[in-house]
Symmetry: C2
Subunit: 321 residues, 2 copies
């Protein structure tokens, strides 16, 4: 038995772009998009629509900006009406003027990522998007660092001041356990009577997929994944596992298997994501993975790279107060 309200969003290009400054070839993005369409994925997020004033186009690839002409190279002329295209705007790094009227865009959904402190910026961006004809979501990042009172207030605002379709729990640091997911989905449900609840989990503690299942059980219907988990630090809930779990007969895991073999696995030569001790420690300690990412970036022959005890001492010393 399946729940038809469930929508799977594949974020491979967007979240994976955090590991390579969004430098994917048009050909790769097109193949990923086509595989997701063939697999019956509901929403494909093709990158950020962030501001070129805040991200240098010299440093960052096309998928940090998702100009319409680039998106059209991927989507082609015959847009599949069953697959929605999403782009993300960071509340503190994006500008509403970069969103065209819906009639001029192939984008369907603007997903606004925000820290809870920036909720008013996020609401302004989301409302601008819905006024222009898009669907919008608000994705509350770093949820494990939110003060309870601020999160309560933000959720009440989202319910009362926006017409977003969904509000996401974003476990940026990969530190949530299933009981935390329960607690948060229940909290979101109490506030968000007219919105769906979204689940976006990171895999620092190998819990992204398990936490997504827990969110499904608790009635979350918007579910994020990435192919082979490609994404920041330890990555995300693998879309192929999620599609294997869900029972909706429209889903087909095979196109995802194909694209993982041909396009995603070869990226492991350039990008290191997935379970690793530095990421695991940042998840366990509920901190941003930036120190772990820096450690993983060291050359393989640098002994610091596998001095995990030293790394642990350093990051716990920094978090003592």
């Amino acid at each position: 038995m399946y729940r038809p309200q469930i929508k799977v969003c594949d974020c491979t290009i967007r979240d994976g772009g955090l590991m390579n400054n969004s430098h994917f070839s048009v050909e790769t993005v097109r193949k990923v998009f086509q595989a997701c369409c063939a697999a019956g994925i509901d929403i494909v997020e093709l990158g950020y629509r962030n501001s070129k004033n805040m991200f240098s186009p010299e440093k960052y690839g096309a998928w940090r900006f998702c100009d319409e002409e680039m998106l059209r190279k991927v989507v082609g002329d015959q847009k599949n009406p069953d697959v929605k295209i999403a782009v993300m705007q960071d509340a503190h790094k994006a500008d509403a003027v970069d969103i065209l009227p819906k009639s001029e865009s192939v984008v369907d959904i603007i997903r606004v990522a925000t820290y809870v402190k920036d909720i008013d910026k996020a609401i302004a961006l989301a409302n601008s998007a819905t006024e222009k004809g898009y669907e919008a979501t608000i994705n509350i990042m770093a949820i494990s660092h939110c003060l309870e009172r601020e999160l309560d207030e933000a959720l009440a605002q989202i319910e009362n001041e926006t017409s977003v379709i969904a509000c996401y729990i974003v476990d940026s640091f990969g530190s949530l356990y299933s009981e935390d997911v329960d607690y948060l989905v229940n909290k979101y449900s109490r506030y968000l009577k007219s919105k769906e609840i979204g689940a976006h989990f990171h895999n620092q503690q190998q819990l992204a997929y398990a936490n997504t299942i827990e969110a499904i059980i608790k009635n979350s219907n918007y579910l994020d994944g990435t192919l082979f988990g490609l994404g920041r630090a330890a990555g995300n809930c693998p879309t192929e596992l999620l599609i294997g779990f869900l029972k909706n007969p429209k889903y087909d895991v095979r196109p995802l298997l194909g694209i993982i073999g041909s396009e995603i696995l070869p990226m492991q030569k350039q990008i290191t994501w997935g379970y690793n001790i530095p990421y695991m420690l940042s998840g366990m300690l509920n901190i941003h993975p930036k120190e772990a990412l820096a450690l993983m970036d060291l050359p393989d022959d640098d002994p610091l790279k596998t001095d995990f005890v030293g790394f642990y001492e350093t990051i716990t010393a920094e978090t003592d107060s």
Copy 2:
């Protein structure tokens, strides 16, 4: 708050030995053992005590047999009374005569692994071990293939005919979801009034750690893990994650971090374990990973190795009836 009844068993050398025919150097096994002792691990499983009539000592390393003299090289003269030493016997590949009287052995616990069909063999081995002075456990493998009626009968027998300390749920194929874990721990609890329940999960679907947490919530107290998840196919619940989760102040993750960096990660050059699409598919389809292991053994430049769609078609064709 922690539950003092919880016992963590590190199976790195035993389960990891399924990936290299138990060929670890004495030095490596000694370092793993010492790290586990320093971390406060309750039980360290150093390998199999299987029959040399069924496993060739030419093909298999010392840790498939765990002769006493080899164990003493690892444990040394000053045995730590807080750390129990376990070896595993396969019900269908081991012999009770290979177990010395307890007074002549450094081993504390004989863990008997069995398919449900071999339960009478397992009970005979376990009872032989307890009569010789050891603690014993029975670990029911391939639990996801057990017929319900046979499992019920086996559990009743274990309760009534043995004095094992624990009976394990062994998810050999990595196919259980949290609701299956709930169901099985509840079933075990109904039958095993005088025994503890053990949890040994594989990571084919990235659920080994999450399922272990689920088992803990349902009152399972014997918990298996391996360092960095080293074990058959996608491997096991990582011991370092489990120690990070448990609250007993005697546990210290740092010695595990050290040994992972110095001994376990370098093994990745020879052994491929962890999440991979062939393993994921065998977990999703609830089948033995033998075809996946064969695929992963192909040379890297063999195009079959990443033809995951072809692999999927093959293994699903084979399971059609």
